[in-house]
Structures are given as structure tokens and as C-alpha cells.
Amino acid sequence: MSLLEISDLDVHYRRRTGRLHALRSASLSLSPGETVGIIGETGSGKSTLARAILGLVRPSAGKIVIDGADVAAFTPRQWRELRRRGTVQYVFQDPLRSLDPDLTIFDSLAEPLRIHGSADIPDKVHKILARVRLEQVLLDRLPGELSGGQRQRVAVARALITEPRLVLLDEPVSALDSANRVQILELLKQLRDAGTALLFISHDLGSVAGVADRIAVLYRGEIVEDRAAASVINEPAHPYTKLLVSSAPTLRSAAAGRAARSELRNLLDLEGASA
């Protein structure tokens, strides 16, 4: 059975200029232990999808089934109950958003356990810190006293401490330099291998490609492709995916493909105009 099953999800935002259709019948499923990458650029609807799964926006149609329950119809009270269980956790691009600036690292990590009503809190905090390879001396510090890479590792540790079955990661490595990016990606791989399901949302195909089993491509609110990572990258089907793959800077394709990219851009502009 799927851990997460999204079917025909529609989300609208009300804007001064009219209704904005942020997601159009998006469907996606995630099995336990699976890692799925969602690729989308500005305006693709990727953040809306993340927010809908976390109960932060209300869909106008469709289902989001987490662990057997349709959360799209949840009341605020049911949401609080689901969050308390810690089945689903999240990591954002900016760890300052998921860490309280006034709490020490120890308290930030202990908080989900206290809400959860766990025993052996200090022991669990020490273990999780070791797992993300941070030194114990950092426990007394505030988030502002850590480097960006250390903060992101704390945010990952905080997400993992309740042993969630699903972790949602929204651009977890986009703000990091290369050494820190490698460390976080390595950590995500270990998590995946240990059986945690990951939904890895990013604008950057490159960072997702190394971790995801499957890649779904979001374009203008629609999932236009959803297949094994290698097949999306080697045989992209949708013109947008083709443009995405040929635009990603790699060490092997210097300057080639300029004409092809230009053609794809023209094609997509035409598509947009007729939509």
C-alpha cells in the first residue's frame, strides 16, 4: 500500500486578477521507503504541492491520502493530531524557517519528542546529532550561532528524531555550498537506504538525480512526467523535461545544444499561448 497517494489534486489561489490555478489534477504516489524527486521551477506549483501535503493550503478538489487517511478533508484538530504523531516531517530550504531562533539546538531537537510524549529524550537527541555528524558541543548554541550547513543538518536531525515514515524536503540543499551539499545528500541517501520515504522537491534536477528513485516533473501546475530517474534524464518525453535536461549544467556537455534549447523554448511558448 502507498504511504502517500495524491489523486487529481487541484489547488486554486484567489488573486486580485482572478483565480490562479496552482495545481491541475496532480496525481502522485509514494511507497514506503521510496524516494521521489519533484522537479519544478518558479511558478510550477511545487511549493503549493508541499504546502498541501502539510495541510497548509486547502485543495479545491482531489485527495491526499497519507497512511490510509484522506487528509485533504481533515479538520484543524485532525491535522494537529497527525502532526503530533510525527509520521510526516519536513525540511525547508532555509533552516531558520524550521528552527526557532530562540531555542537552543538541544531544545529544537527535543521539542518534537516532548510533543510526541517520548521517553529518553537526551539520549535520543545525542544519537540523532551523531547521525547527522554534528558535535555535541553545538547543543547549547542557538541556530544563529551555527553555519548554514550545520543549521541544515540540525533541521534534518529535527525532522528525523520522531522516526517519521515520510520526510518532505523542499529545496534542502539549494542554499548550501558544495561540501555541505554533498554531506546532506549523503545523509539523504542513508535515510533512503534505511527505509524512510522521501519526497524531495527542488528546482535543480542535478541535486535530485543523485538521490531519487523516481522523478516527477511539475510544469505550470501539472505533472508532465513521472518515471524512473534514469529514464526521465536519458529519455525525457515532454518538451519541458527535454528543455530542463538540456539546460542543466553538466561537466560533459559544454556549449552543445544551444539551437535545440532555443527550439524547445519556442515550442513551449506556443503551448503556453494556446493553453
Binding site: 558544495s178 542543466a248 561537466l251 556537455s253 534549447r261
Partner: protein, 262 residues
Amino acid sequence: MSILSLRDVRVSLDREIVHGVTFDLEPGGVVGIVGESGSGKTLTCRAALGILPEGFTVSGGSISLDGHDVASLSSKQWTALRGSTISAVFQDPASYLNPSLTIGSQIAEVAQVKLGLRRRALKARTLQLLDAVRLSSAVHGQYPHELSGGMLQRALIATAIAAEPKILIADEATTALDVTVQAEILDLLAELRESTGLALVVVSHDLAVVAQVCDEVLVMRAGEVVEQGPVEKILYRPDHEYTRLLIEEHESYGLERYLVTP
């Protein structure tokens, strides 16, 4: 002859921060500088532009710009060279554009001040520049807040090339953009290079971005050039451990894992 030549350039605040950078940029050539924050890549560019932050000085070596030793330039002479000989675009285009002026008037201002164009010639030149950076003429009357990040960066490139400089420095100019938009801007720079002979200095934290467009690459870390050479050498026969780390990151985690190597 080189249009821009750096010889063992050192930059200091209280102590030395950039420990000797040397490269030659030919007309129409592209030099890339790769490094992470704190590597000294931006200070090196700022030294070449004569706009080091308060307190920083070029404490050693020499910079020759279009045949002038920049150490002997007065601030007036510098002002004359900036824009018309050397120009630059940075990561956050919005902070270099005036929010209360139309894009057209900001491009026109550069052409007016630097080239002394008047009215009709000015308007024609502005529209020509918008076309060169693949922006529609409708953008002429629009304000910065009406444009996307990629369009803003194009508009900023239009102002940067308005006075027909021989060198454009692009310092993390595509870093904040979506991947497809980044490719658009890199394609645009390559086109400008081909059509106008513009020489480029492309600075990025991402080796792959630099590898797309450059002939020669400098890899910088903590103020030091750890490796330097033609792009093929850097990519396929790197000598330094740090360069190998940058390549390794792409090969283990990037698309390279899947792409079939030709």
C-alpha cells in the same frame, strides 16, 4: 594582445586576502573563475573593475586594462573606462536597477552618458539593446517589479553592454535563477560573444556553469588559485584535490550519473 591582464594580483584588508591571481583575457575570449563564498573570486573581479570595497587595496601585482596600467588611473579616468571598456553584472539584478524608473530609461541613460546619443538615436539604440538580450520592445516602458528574475538579468545585461564595452564580468549572474533561465542567460552571453566579440569573465560557485562557456578556468579557494588551465585539462585531468572534489560532486550526485558519456 590581451584586453585584460592580471599579474600576481593580491588584495588586502588588514592582511592579504587574495594571494596572487594571474590570467590573460583576449578579445572574444572567456575566462572562468570557480570558487565558493570566501574564495576571493568576487574581490578579484572588483579589483579588475576598480571598485574594491572600502578599506580593501590591491597590495601587489598589476592589472592592465585595454593597455592601461590601472594603478596609474585617476578616478576620472576609471569612470571613463567603466561601462565603455569593462562592465559587470552580479547575482541580484533587482538591486542594480532603479525601481522607480522604466527599464528603457535606465538602458538609455547609459547610452546617453557614455555614447552621447540624443533622442531618436537613443531610442533606436535602446530598442536594439533590448532585442540583443531577447527582450520584447514592450519591456521598454515597464518597471523592474513587472519583470521576472530572468528578464531582470537580461535588462541588466542590456544596461551593462549599452556603452559597447570590450569586457563583461558576470559574477554569479545566473545563480539565483531557475535552471532553464540560467541556460537562457548563458546562451545569451555566448551569442553576444560571437556577435560582438565581447570578452567575458564568468564567475560561479558551480564548475559545470563555468565549463559550459569558458576556454580557461581558474579554481580558487581561500584566496588562492589552486588550479588553472584550459577547461578540458581542469575537467579531465585535474591535479588539485579540491578540483577533484568539485568534479566528484557532479559525478556522484548530478545528472552525470545517468548521462551516457559519448
